[in-house]
């Protein structure tokens, strides 16, 4: 079923981003229970139902134009959102290859790849691109390969070098992180970049997750969901731009909460890269306003309970504390048990 792409909307300034009913229906609501706690919720990334966000390795949805335009804006202001350490070039070519092959196979109406040995031609019908290049020769592309393909796909990408039984964030293109920074985390080990996360270390979550990730094999990817909340449909909530979005947490009122507050869900997808043995960690972000979310009564009820009972340390870490009560109060009307 071909994707219908929406015209350009914005993730900044006037925030015209909205979800269609179809996009709401396929939104990855992340809570299997009324309570949330950290777990190693990693599962094999087997292909999901047609039309679902799990159908393909790289989900292209109605927001494709807006998201790639947003990425170009961020990169123009801050080129440090794409970082490639010298030993990661192979992993970047690996990434370009998996993204191009999967997009061309999964969305033939949007992308096309022709390969003749190392002479490749890539076509992106949405962005009106037809690029012939030599695979492995960065001089034949207008950008370094990770940035080149990163500008044409939704979601952020971190490339992790595997050594010393650990993973190191040594390359990436990250323009829409949930309150972190690639430039800050670059070069860090798995536990170093996760060190700000409360409670999970004590639960042994990271020991188990790391062990699992180190053993991911080629063509046997895994995935998990993570979540937080964001004020306005703002993709770029990077540490670098905190001064632009941090203060918005103080703007939530009972009147605007449904429109302003968004549930932000990340589909994290991890795949072994064949030639470099690096691990590709992709983070595909889905935003939904509470107004849109409560069109699904079961989600509304469950989100009310999850947020109401969320441990304070987690609420603090996710940056929800200033407006959590306002959200819970507003969601209560959708929880028959609590509202009664």
């Amino acid at each position: 079923m071909p994707v219908t792409l929406k015209p350009l909307e914005s993730y900044r300034d006037d925030f015209t981003f909205r979800n269609s009913p179809e996009a709401i229906a396929r939104f990855p609501f992340p809570f299997p229970e009324d309570q949330y706690m950290y777990s190693v919720n990693i599962e094999p990334a087997t292909p999901g139902a047609p039309g679902s966000i799990y159908e393909h390795w790289f989900d292209i949805d109605e927001h494709y134009r807006s998201e790639t335009t947003e990425r170009a804006k961020v990169l123009q202001k801050d080129p440090q959102r794409c970082i490639v350490m010298p030993h990661m070039h192979e992993a970047c070519w690996d990434t370009l290859e998996v993204i191009m092959t999967h997009l061309a196979a999964d969305y033939p109406e949007l992308f096309r790849l022709t390969r003749d040995g190392d002479q490749w031609t890539w076509e992106n019908h949405v962005q009106d691109i037809r690029q012939s290049f030599t695979f492995g020769d960065a001089d034949t592309l207008p950008y370094e390969p990770l940035e080149y393909i990163g500008r044409q796909v939704q979601g952020d990408f971190a490339l992790l070098d595997q050594r010393d039984n650990d993973l190191f964030m040594d390359a990436g293109i990250v323009t829409g992180p949930a309150d972190w920074s690639l430039a800050f985390d670059a070069g860090m080990s798995f536990k170093q970049w996760h060190s700000p996360v409360p409670m999970a270390h004590e639960l042994g979550v990271f020991d188990r997750a790391l062990k699992y990730l180190l053993n991911i094999q080629v063509d046997r990817p895994v995935r998990r969901l993570n979540w937080t909340m964001t004020i306005n449909p703002r993709l770029d909530t990077s540490s670098e731009t905190f001064h632009e979005w941090g203060r918005e947490r103080g703007m939530v009122t009972p009147e605007n909460v449904g429109r302003l507050v968004h549930l932000r869900v990340e589909l994290q997808f991890m795949a072994r890269l064949a030639r470099s043995n690096a691990l590709m960690f992709s983070i595909r972000t889905y935003l939904i306003s509470l107004e849109e979310l409560v069109t699904n009564p079961a989600w509304a009820q469950r989100l009310h309970r999850v947020l109401r009972d969320l441990p304070q340390a987690l609420a603090d870490y996710k940056g929800l504390s200033r407006y959590r009560q306002t959200v819970v109060d507003w969601l209560r009307q959708y929880d028959p048990e609590a509202a009664a």
């Binding site: 990661m88 050594r163 010393d164 094999q217 080629v218 046997r220 064949a274 030639r275 043995n277």
Partner: protein, 314 residues
């Protein structure tokens, strides 16, 4: 589980009386790319058995149109290497598990010291292609026995020149690790693949000479070794599985239709770790801690004690 790769044996070369090289091509489609240091599991249709042996891929990783492995005939073979040497012919079809890598070159090394013992040369053939392509600095030390376990020696000597050092035990030349590892530039990494004694020797010598642990890498090509027969019992179903002496517990489970995740089949990667509830275990892995061994075992190499019953939490 991943679908297996269907391959055809394109060519077989007898490199020495003990070492045979096999080249595999995809029956249809393409073979997945791989990284230097990767191995595949070869599924061997030994009659009445379900053997899977792990072998390093020794071709050039940038040209993945075919896979190559080299197999040494093992004296105490449980049937795998003997089957490959005596039964498999050109044109035969086999199945491989997709490549996995437990022995990748470090991205941080400024100089790579490769130490091979006998058939342990195999992963380094892929290393050499990769390191040459990167323009990386490296040297290869090859301890072998001339005419028996010195596969690829002549072509390596020609290809690598001064970077190649062969130690032919038949000619009385011994690898002096104290010399090979002494006073190496900071940023050197050493990689060893070969018999356990050689691996131990490299690790001990490196430690004595002050090498940091993270600059010392090894891959044992240990496969399961035979033992005594015992019985495995599955706690969930009560099912009893006889494990003959020449079959590993993992193989016996697989034959009984119980799939256990696994990568190395040699006791090093930890993937197949399985909890047990009762019984005496002969631990043969090099992965689990003493504490972990009180409740779990790695069925790819470890076994129940002779004649006993081992109850697995499966």
């Amino acid at each position: 589980m991943n679908p297996l790769l269907d391959v055809e044996v394109k060519t077989i070369r007898q490199l020495t009386p003990l070492v045979r090289e096999f080249t595999f091509a995809a029956v249809d489609g393409k073979l997945p790319r791989f990284s230097a240091g990767s191995h595949v599991q070869v599924h061997l249709p030994v009659p009445g058995r379900a053997l899977r042996n792990a072998y390093s891929l020794l071709g050039d990783p940038s040209e993945p149109s075919s896979y190559r492995i080299a197999v040494r005939l093992q004296d105490d073979s449980r049937g795998g290497s003997r089957f490959l040497h005596e039964q498999v012919k050109e044109g035969d079809r086999l199945q491989l598990s997709p490549p996995a890598n437990l022995f990748a070159p470090s991205s941080q090394a400024r100089h790579h010291v490769l130490v091979a013992g006998g058939i342990g040369i195999t992963p380094f053939l892929a290393y050499i292609a990769e390191l040459e392509r990167r323009g990386a600095s490296f040297e290869l030390h090859y301890a072998c026995r001339g005419g028996l376990t010195d596969a690829y020696r002549a072509e390596l000597a020609e290809r690598l020149g001064e970077r190649f050092h062969a130690y032919d035990a038949a000619a009385g030349r011994r690898l002096d690790l104290g010399e090979a590892l002494a006073e190496r530039p900071l940023g050197s990494h050493v990689y060893v693949c070969g018999p356990q004694a050689l691996i131990d020797d490299v690790r001990e010598t490196a430690a004595r000479l002050g090498w940091a642990d993270k600059r010392v890498h090894w891959e044992a090509f240990a496969a399961a070794e035979p033992g005594s027969p015992f019985v495995a019992e599955l706690a969930s179903s009560g099912k009893r599985i006889e494990v003959p002496g020449d079959t590993s517990l993992l193989e016996a489970l697989e034959q009984a239709g119980v799939e256990v995740p696994n990568l190395c089949r040699g006791g090093v990667c930890g993937q197949c770790t399985t909890p047990f509830l009762k019984g005496e275990v002969e631990h043969r892995d090099s992965y689990l801690s003493e504490e972990e061994r009180t409740t779990a075992l790695m069925p790819c190499v470890s076994r129940g004690r002779c004649g006993s019953t081992l109850t697995l939490d499966l």
